[in-house]
């Protein structure tokens, strides 16, 4: 029987894909994202990692503040490193942190939301107070404090973003769980003798997963921007290139004053493009999941 169920799941996925294909917005977003994902994956083929090392760069005889005409597609920075290498390798960190942090956010948020919404009562009250506490605390100071205390590494950044972003997901999921809980088929499942975990697994989760997916897709750009912000403030991982770090270094070292646009523009545009791509995909998924939002009425 599970094979028939699998077949139906594939058919549903096929339907979703077809609807997605019809949306110009979604397809553009997907295409842009695909380009950057390929870029990130193909980094070793596109740029030498050693180019990120200022000692190596100097030894290579790279110019300082070289413009794109003088050196490579995107020129060099203040310590002679290839900007193209930073862009390509930086995309990895930005995307990876964005996705990993979102995963953490969604995990904590969904579990909290589902437990809170489904169990209700005192547990719900307690969890909601914790959620509100996190929501009320201003994000940036908290992130700065955590980053300073935990140290500046990629994993800590992921942790910081995850830990500060989960509350809004939790509230969203909880609201949806409360709605689904009221539905008659949950009563029916109860009347059949279903236990709490069974109801959550078979009835709550499947009707909440669409929302979670759409929310996740929209949370990724937020995570990426957060990483960028943190890196820009100097809290990023010093040992790795990231777009945020590029922007920080460009700013700190006077690239704007020098008009060395090749240093900060690519990273900035890259972030913009990826964020937009995820937003477009997320909106399309939302429209598919909730046809009432669709503009084609």
């Amino acid at each position: 029987m599970t094979s028939i169920a699998m077949k139906r799941r594939r058919a549903t996925a096929g339907r979703v894909w077809k609807e997605f294909r019809d949306s110009r917005e979604g397809m553009i977003g997907l295409a842009v994202l695909a380009v950057f994902v390929l870029l990130a994956l193909a980094a070793p083929l596109l740029a030498d990692l050693r180019e990120l090392n200022p000692v190596f760069a100097r030894a290579q005889g790279n110019p300082q503040w070289g413009s794109p005409g003088e050196f490579g597609p995107l020129g060099t920075d203040h310590i002679r490193r290839s900007v193209w290498a930073q862009f390509v390798w930086g995309s990895r960190v930005s995307l990876f942190v964005g996705l990993a942090a979102t995963l953490l956010t969604i995990l904590i948020g969904s579990v909290t939301g589902i437990v809170s919404g489904f169990v209700g009562g005192k547990a719900d009250g307690a969890l909601m107070r914790v959620t509100e506490w996190f929501l009320v605390i201003p994000f940036l100071p908290l992130a700065i404090v955590l980053a300073s205390v935990l140290g500046r590494s990629v994993w800590n950044i992921i942790f910081v973003i995850g830990v500060t972003s989960w509350p809004s997901t939790a509230r969203l999921v909880r609201a949806q769980v409360l709605t689904v809980k009221q539905r008659l088929f949950v009563d029916r499942a109860r009347s059949l003798g279903a236990s709490g975990p069974h109801i959550v697994a078979h009835h709550i989760l499947p009707n909440v997963s669409g929302l979670i997916l759409a929310n996740a897709t929209l949370a990724v750009p937020i995570s990426i921007l957060t990483e960028t912000t943190l890196a820009f403030l100097g809290l990023g991982d010093p040992s790795r290139a990231s777009w945020g770090k590029t922007l920080e270094e460009a700013f700190v070292n006077g690239a704007m004053v020098r008009n060395a646009w090749w240093y900060f523009l690519p990273a900035g545009l890259g972030i913009l493009a990826v964020v937009l791509a995820f937003t477009m995909i997320g909106r399309t998924l939302e429209q598919i999941a909730n046809p009432r939002l669709s503009r084609s009425r």
């Binding site: 029987m1 169920a5 139906r8 009563d187 078979h202």
Partner: protein, 321 residues
């Protein structure tokens, strides 16, 4: 009911109060094996609250519920698991579309009960059998379908199949055909009647539709403002009712022509402000007609006739009877 036969469901003195609102205010009833009891009333009568309490979806304030002789612990903190864990009692709902999880296939929906109570080896056969008996043939055609791909009537059949696959002895049905098209009502009701004839199933059906009771019920219990005010065999209740409320209700059914219409004034009172004495007295046409003798009519506004007792096969809660 023969003495010595344990009723499948017995409700005694049930109260369900929401603060000051006494939705169910001392109701008692019984359902014998193989019998169809129609619980009839308007909205505000408490019939839905009563069946939800029996289903375990609503915690009663006081009173006793016994299923197959075993008393349910109505004070338990968690929903009344005893009923749920007893596959002998199953349910059919008013809204067949809402009762089905849109993300489950028909097969999964019908098999769910079986899987919860332990995975039987012949699951596929049992699911096919249940769908088939519910009129969905050939059953295999429906296995992979989703609820939105079938019609309203078919969805209700799926709900019934999902209940029947558990081989229940009692079916609790809340307005099973109210949201279905008129022309398919009959088929679903015929199916339910056939299940009773074939399997000895008992059904407690809640409805506002007296015609439904005429179609399938052996006995009828009439509810008003939280209490059962009259009960008896269908022919008797719908042929020659004793309680003035039942008489009035019957008179306004569009399909009954022989009776003169007695349109009551106003609506069922707020369950938080139940009238003194007989709760029906402010609207009672019999009382208003002035034809009652003084020692009866003087009791109506002051003395409560009390609910119809459990085990009463034919009774009406009225001083004039």
């Amino acid at each position: 009911m023969h003495p010595g036969v344990t009723p499948l469901v017995e409700v005694e003195g049930l109260h369900v109060h929401f603060g000051a609102a006494r939705a169910v205010d001392g109701a008692s009833l019984q359902v014998a094996p193989g019998e169809v009891l129609a619980l009839v009333g308007e909205s505000g009568s408490g019939k839905t609250t009563l069946i939800r309490a029996i289903q375990g979806l609503q915690k009663p304030t006081s009173g006793e519920i016994r299923v197959e002789g075993e008393s349910i612990d109505t004070k338990a903190k968690r929903p009344i698991q005893t009923i749920f864990e007893n596959p002998a009692v199953q349910m059919v709902f008013q809204d067949p579309t809402g009762a089905l999880n849109p993300r489950q296939t028909i097969y999964e929906i019908v098999a769910e009960g079986l899987r919860i109570h332990g995975q039987p080896e012949d699951e596929t056969d049992r699911v096919a059998g249940a769908l088939s008996r519910a009129g969905l043939r050939p059953p295999e055609r429906f296995f992979q379908m989703y609820p939105h791909e079938i019609s309203g009537g078919q969805r209700q059949r799926v709900v019934i199949a999902g209940a029947m696959v558990m081989q229940p002895r009692l079916l609790l049905a809340d307005e099973p055909v109210a949201s279905l098209d008129a022309s398919i009502r009959g088929e679903i009701l015929a199916l339910m009647r056939q299940l009773v004839d074939d399997t000895g199933l008992a059904i407690l059906v809640v409805t506002h539709d007296l015609g439904l009771a005429w179609n399938i019920a052996d006995r009828v219990a009439v509810m008003y403002l939280g209490r059962i005010v009259e009960t008896g065999a269908t022919e008797q209740i719908l042929g020659d009712p004793k309680h003035p409320y039942t008489r009035a209700l019957l008179s306004v059914v569009p399909e009954t022509r022989e009776m003169e219409q007695q349109i009551l004034t106003g609506e069922i009172p707020d369950p938080a402000r139940i009238p003194d004495g007989c709760r029906f007295h402010p609207r009672c046409p019999l009382l208003q007609s002035g034809t009652l003798v003084a020692d009866v009519s003087s009791r109506c506004p002051t003395e409560d006739p009390g609910p119809v007792a459990v085990g009463a096969t034919s009774a009406a809660a009225c001083w004039a009877v």
